[in-house]
């Protein structure tokens, strides 16, 4: 099984064994994940995690199990809904905010993912 983190948060990307970096907005991350789900990948963490409204989440990170084949329906409805939510509102681009705030957002994003990353053994031990 290939577990993989899809993220636009460079800090987090650097801390995992297997990741895919999306150079773009939180919506770009979700759209990319959607493409993977359409081809059969399964989502392992909820794409809307964090209790912040989308326009306050410049970073998005989703753990998936990458595979080809039948579409996983739970994953599909989650990612389609998440994309819809993010499309319906203004986004903050990661590079449009001051560094301290960006750092906070990146930190929260990383923290929210940490336990799940550990659960799927994706965190690089040398960085722990």
């Amino acid at each position: 099984m290939l577990f993989k983190l899809v993220t636009n948060n460079m800090n987090l990307y650097n801390a995992v064994k297997c990741g895919e970096f999306v150079d773009g907005s939180s919506l770009d991350v979700l759209v990319h994940v959607r493409g993977l789900v359409h081809l059969g990948s399964k989502i392992l963490t909820h794409p809307l995690c964090g209790n912040l409204r989308p326009n306050h989440q410049p970073f998005r990170s989703v753990i998936i199990e990458e595979k080809k084949g039948f579409v996983d329906l739970d994953s599909l409805s989650l990612i389609e809904d998440a994309v819809r939510v993010y499309q319906s509102c203004a986004l903050i681009m990661p590079d449009a905010i001051d560094e301290a705030t960006r750092g906070d957002y990146a930190y929260i994003d990383a923290e929210l993912m940490k336990e799940s990353l550990e659960q799927y053994r994706l965190l690089r031990r040398d960085l722990l």
């Binding site: 959607r34 493409g35 359409h38 389609e80 819809r84 499309q87």
Partner: protein
């Protein structure tokens, strides 16, 4: 000081003429014209119609952006407090123009915008989010009922009074959520509702989740060898360049495309307008979404009578249920008229 209102009507209600004058260019006149008299009466002096905008329905429909920009410019000097359009009853193009103008005015001047239409007027579905549309009968006989209701709602909005639920105020539900303070805590309301549900009594949910209905299946096709099969897709396949500008999501239209002589869809001829999936594969070979090549083979082999020479496409992604219904109804009536036997609907 009474409130200043601008009224929008079409060439017909302005007494200029019928369909033959529908290309009448926008103009603004001081004071009341046509049905504005009735509105004026219903305002009872609390608001005044300072000007009336008149525009031909066809002119508006074929020059939407230009016409609305022009009208907004004409309105500016009057500094209106509210905008009333119609009522348009069940007149489709008039309703669409009223709705579009309401939306444009609300955006530009940030003032209350009110129209009146029959619920099935296409202007309702397109613009109810942006305007208060009072429900009217389907023709001008309903003028006497429609105008006082529109005036009443307009005055309420002008005075900043809270507007109640659609059924109480007589407007068509806009589908917009609005906060209000209830008499009871949300917790108490929830337990009340819970008790009603347990007892099997009627109750009204505060938030309706989407529900679905069903249709009886049509009988099977008996004679496939003589059947005409049509292709319809919600996967956004269209001639390359998307000539009808079908939106990548929340489509407001569908396209009708000719298949005469088309044996195979290629990256040269067709692509997808759909924004809800990775378009790479469909753009490489649109047969992957709309299997024209195979149906042509089956036609040649006599398995089917023939492939209908038009296909229909829209984008399913985020498209409102109402629009999808409208597309479906319109497409099928054209297919029936063309003598089609059965339909293959493909979705991504």
């Amino acid at each position: 000081m009474s409130f200043k209102v601008i009224h929008y009507i079409n060439q017909f209600y302005a007494g200029i003429g019928g369909e033959e004058k529908a290309d009448y260019q926008p103009e603004i006149r001081e004071g009341v014209v046509g049905p504005g008299m009735a509105l004026k009466g219903a305002f009872k002096g609390e608001a005044e119609i300072v000007a009336t905008v008149i525009c031909g329905d066809s002119y508006f429909a074929s020059n939407m952006d230009e016409a609305s920009a022009k009208i907004l410019d004409m309105m500016r000097e009057y500094k209106p407090d509210a905008f009333i359009a119609g009522p348009a009853f069940n007149a489709g193009r008039y309703g669409t123009a009223c709705g579009a103008m309401c939306a444009a005015v609300a955006k530009e001047f940030n003032i209350p915008v009110i129209s009146g239409m029959y619920p099935e007027n296409p202007g309702v579905e397109m613009y109810k989010k942006f305007a208060w549309i009072v429900e009217t009968p389907d023709n001008a006989v309903g003028m006497r009922k429609a105008v006082p209701a529109m005036a009443k709602l307009a005055l309420k909005l002008l005075k900043g009074e809270p507007v109640g639920k659609p059924e109480a105020e007589g407007y068509i539900e806009r589908g917009v959520r609005k906060n209000m303070f209830y008499d009871k805590l949300a917790a108490e309301r929830c337990v009340d509702m819970f008790v009603s549900k347990l007892k099997g009594e009627s109750f009204e949910t505060e938030y309706k989740m989407p529900v679905f209905d069903r249709v009886e299946p049509q009988p099977a096709v008996k004679d496939m060898a003589h059947a005409t099969i049509a292709l319809v897709t919600s996967g956004g396949i269209c001639p390359k360049g998307n000539p009808d500008h079908i939106e990548a999501s929340s489509a407001s239209k569908f396209g009708e495309y000719d298949l005469t002589g088309v044996m195979d869809l290629t990256s040269e001829t067709h692509c997808t307008a759909h924004g809800g999936y990775d378009a790479t594969y469909a753009d490489q070979d649109a047969d992957r979404v709309l299997p024209v090549d195979v149906l042509r083979d089956l036609e040649r082999e006599g398995v089917i009578g023939k492939l209908h020479n038009k296909f229909y496409a829209t984008v399913g992604n985020g498209t409102s249920v109402a629009n999808a219904k409208k597309f479906g109804a319109e497409i099928v009536s054209r297919l029936v008229a063309d003598g089609v036997t059965a339909v293959i609907l493909t979705s991504t």
